[in-house]
Symmetry: C2
Subunit: 318 residues, 2 copies
Amino acid sequence: MSVVTIGSIALDTISTPVIKRQQVIGGSAVYSSLALSLFAPVQLVGVIGEDFPQETLDELGRRGVDLSGVVRLKGRTFAWEGVYGEDLWEVNTISTELNVFEFFRPTLPDLYRKSPVIFLGNIDPDLQHSVIPQLTGSRLIAADTMNHWLHLKLDTIKSLISRLHVFFANEREAKKLTGQTKVYRAAQDIASMGPRLVVIKSGEYGAMVYERSSARSFWAPAYPVDHVIDPTGAGDTFAGGFLGNLSRESDPYHPDAIKRSLVIANVLASFTISSLGTHALQEADEESIRTRVQAYLEMFPSADDNSLRHLGLAPAAV
Amino acid sequence: MSVVTIGSIALDTISTPVIKRQQVIGGSAVYSSLALSLFAPVQLVGVIGEDFPQETLDELGRRGVDLSGVVRLKGRTFAWEGVYGEDLWEVNTISTELNVFEFFRPTLPDLYRKSPVIFLGNIDPDLQHSVIPQLTGSRLIAADTMNHWLHLKLDTIKSLISRLHVFFANEREAKKLTGQTKVYRAAQDIASMGPRLVVIKSGEYGAMVYERSSARSFWAPAYPVDHVIDPTGAGDTFAGGFLGNLSRESDPYHPDAIKRSLVIANVLASFTISSLGTHALQEADEESIRTRVQAYLEMFPSADDNSLRHLGLAPAAV
């Protein structure tokens, strides 16, 4: 089952307390494609400038990413510069140069329009919105957003959310969007706006998913990484991994499907943050991913633990 | 296996945006006793004034709590007043009246000294420290602390921590104690100071446990509660539930023992926060606890999920 992903393709400049590097391959469409391509043929929609390296396109092609929706325009590729603080968590955007992205109007090739799963990565919500009428019969429409847009285009975002099956937000965005102070309540409020699945990412704490029909929630921590190098793209990787796994589930709203997707999303994000840019995510293979999945699952209590079925509490409490 | 708990016994005044109530039964020793008594005979050490209600002592007695270590002195019981903000998370302490607590010097009755498990609830770290030489052959010495004491008696706390098997802290305290910005790193640093288990509580995100010998970590979210009424005592309930379950495990450092304890601690804390004071925790019985445990376990991915053993990723990634 193919997945269309639409978003930014970028050349980033990233500074952390330890390193500074320019021309780092990035963008929501790139990180999400790399993650999605582990699960499904990907159809990428985006725009690049003359300076974007052909070798990255070749690598995406080798991973089964269809690039016929990527347009190369005269000029420079979208460029973002961010500086991370000591905790490698909060980031200050130093500059955002739209460059060729200014002229990006996402148009889906005919072949893409029938794709059952769509990821609208973080870009201008008006552009995200413009994609929806182009879709015919999508089973899962998912989108991510960013704090920035909540300030500028709140109404558009709300209208977009009402059209989605799956909405990704980080905790700060979810709280801002709803005025709630608890993640769990924020997720419930967003679900009442439309999406059946609301996925709220909380950095080190991992992510929670709220499923509207069953009113059930699921929560899984971040995979613990000893040395975080660069968090850029973690959210897009998470979304790509989550949606990639959902795309191959027969019932994407089944609790087991949601839980599996949470596991995979957290594990893939752990690769992204352990190198600069896309390097570690690109290198991740079945073996290294499976190793982390197994270690990760060992962190959780098991529903099959018989001692928890029969608590055997002291008589006073029985 | 009996458990000794030492801490404050209080009459609290609690204000939330919704309610204000005086003379609410509280204190670290009371919340922890209520939770511990579900698992083991409890031996309570504390001090009360003339105003402390006999009916609460009677209720504790009915739950198998040995009160021979509770001294009643002339004067008023320790009184704490706190005001919670809109999010029912941050609390401002308005006043702390030590009253009879000023004269509290914890002395363990002979019978208590041989107890295999000890919980040193949040009180002056000098008092916590003074208990340790009174113990003979404890298997698990656990303590909790509070931000307040990290400002005033940091060296005493560090010395105390070096004598512990289990240390509880909330996230802010753990970060302050270590200078780390990530929970996971803070837990590792604290473990290197002595305790084999470091338990860091993060409110809505639940808690993580780091086990030093295996360098493994475990993480479980808070049980989702629709309407939080009063978070007072949640940390002490958590510690009591965690330690109560550990006390009955043959190997308290076994991953399964740790995970079970995390489940029980989170579930018991969810009762505490859903009523004012100790009410809901007191009412919790085997049946209501088991129901929440089962619902809670359904939130987690399962290590027995075969689809996660064989990821079956796309060829490009294999």
